[in-house]
């Protein structure tokens, strides 16, 4: 397996590793995979953590390692979290956003600037006739909302972006 093929192969494997608290949304689509490098049959993966203190991170690290080491040609996989690059909700892919909606979670607003107000459309009916019940939710990255159009409670990803946007 040559370098480029190998990396493509690993990325396709990462597409199957989901966030344990967001089944069906892969770590790749969440924008958590910063870099994949190979040294022969050894794989090094650099990841960026979502929220600090998120208890899912340890599980994600283990699941990624296990999935990659299950690949036939791979000997070892090292997963490393870095703070050198900050995760932001802008890193979530379009597919990630679609998958979030299926899970009843609205994706974060695009091009959000810190301090701005933001509107959240209902992931079920698409209406913007919604209200924020609680900025904080069941996990650090989510808020709790209510849709007055279809009368469903739902969740949304909080926008998390750098305050000093470069």
């Amino acid at each position: 397996m040559n370098g480029e093929q190998g990396i493509a192969n690993i990325r396709s494997v990462l597409q199957t590793v989901d966030d344990p608290e967001l089944p069906s949304v892969s770590v790749l689509d969440l924008g958590m995979v910063h870099d994949v490098t190979l040294q022969g049959r050894n794989v090094m993966i650099t990841m960026v953590p979502t929220f600090a203190g998120c208890p899912a991170l340890d599980f994600i690290e283990l699941n990624v390692k296990k999935a990659v080491e299950d690949v036939e040609w791979v000997d070892t996989c090292d997963v490393h979290f870095t703070f050198e690059h900050q995760w932001s909700t802008d890193a979530i892919t379009d597919r990630g956003k679609e998958q979030l909606k299926k899970h009843g979670i609205s994706p974060p607003p695009e091009n959000y600037q810190p301090g701005d107000e933001w509107t959240v459309n209902c992931p079920f009916c698409g209406s913007d006739y919604t209200s924020m019940e609680n900025v904080f939710g069941p996990t650090a990255c989510r808020s709790i909302l209510y849709c007055s159009a279809c009368r469903n409670p739902f969740e949304a990803m909080k926008p998390v972006v750098s305050l000093t946007k470069s």
Partner: protein, 271 residues
């Protein structure tokens, strides 16, 4: 400014290393103890949504403490869990006001905690944390600057939350106003060491790890002045001494005993 890229580089200059580790201990211990006091509110907050919000903030802040303890681990101070659980009172560097009990009673026994204390303490602390993290986000020690930038992106939600409580209670009933005001008065005589950097402050400044104490203090006074209806006229005080130099009260002893109870029962256990 000479940027120090990693722990190995930092270890080459003993004066730099000492100032850096002192600063990171303060950051770690502050976030740690305020999270512990926050955790003691679990299930007791004024309403269910607040319980969700406060515990989420607390979990996130404990996550920040972990990032700082892990920086210390890289700098050769020992395992992060050991640093959090086993250090003695004298080794702790948190501001004393942050260790204060939540009110009367204990978590398992008649917890008559005081919400006004929670609001004032967290509002004052988060306001300062923003100022401090901003100052550290351009620190000469790159790994610390990175962690500060990360914390800032998340902490903005914490600050907004406590600011909202502060504004609402100050403009609510007479009873609410009085309770908040008396906790502000109390904080005013105790909060000063939280704003300080301890005996290595000059070295921290010299090595461009953080801004000066004077700057930090001024920035905090200016910011809270905007949100407090009637700031006390008396100067800020540190009634019980300076936690930055290892001085602490019986309240911290109680907190550490409770926090480390399970850990101490079996130190080799893997959780």
């Amino acid at each position: 400014m000479t940027v120090v890229e990693n722990a190995e580089q930092a270890k080459k200059d003993p004066s730099y290393l000492k100032a850096l580790t002192e600063l990171v201990y303060q950051l770690a211990d502050d976030d740690f103890i305020i999270s512990f006091r926050g955790a003691e509110w679990l299930g007791l907050a004024p309403h269910i949504e607040e319980d969700v919000a406060f515990s989420s903030i607390t979990q996130n802040t404990m996550g920040h403490a972990v990032m700082f303890y892990e920086l210390l681990e890289e700098l050769g101070e020992g395992n992060a869990d050991v640093l959090a659980h086993e250090r003695t009172l004298e080794q702790r560097r948190n501001g004393i006001y942050l260790e204060k009990r939540n009110g009367e009673g204990a978590y398992h026994e008649e917890p008559y905690y005081d919400w006004a204390l929670a609001v004032v303490r967290n509002y004052f602390y988060e306001t300062f944390k923003k100022i401090k993290m901003e100052a550290i986000s351009t620190s000469s020690y790159k790994p610390l600057a990175n962690v500060a930038s990360k914390a800032l992106m998340e902490q903005t939600y914490h600050l907004a939350h406590w600011k909202m409580w502060m504004n609402q209670l100050q403009h609510a009933t007479e009873d609410a106003r009085e309770r908040i005001n008396s906790r502000i008065e109390e904080a005013w005589s105790e909060f000063e060491d939280v704003l300080e950097l301890g005996s290595y402050a000059n070295d921290m400044l010299k090595h461009q790890l953080i801004s000066s104490e004077d700057y930090l203090k001024e920035a905090w006074l200016k910011e809270v002045g905007v949100n407090i209806a009637n700031p006390p006229e008396s100067p800020l005080g540190k009634k019980y001494g300076s936690g930055r130099n290892g001085v602490h009260t019986a309240d911290l002893k109680q907190a550490l005993q409770t926090f480390a109870e399970v850990y101490n029962s079996d130190k080799k256990a893997v959780w």
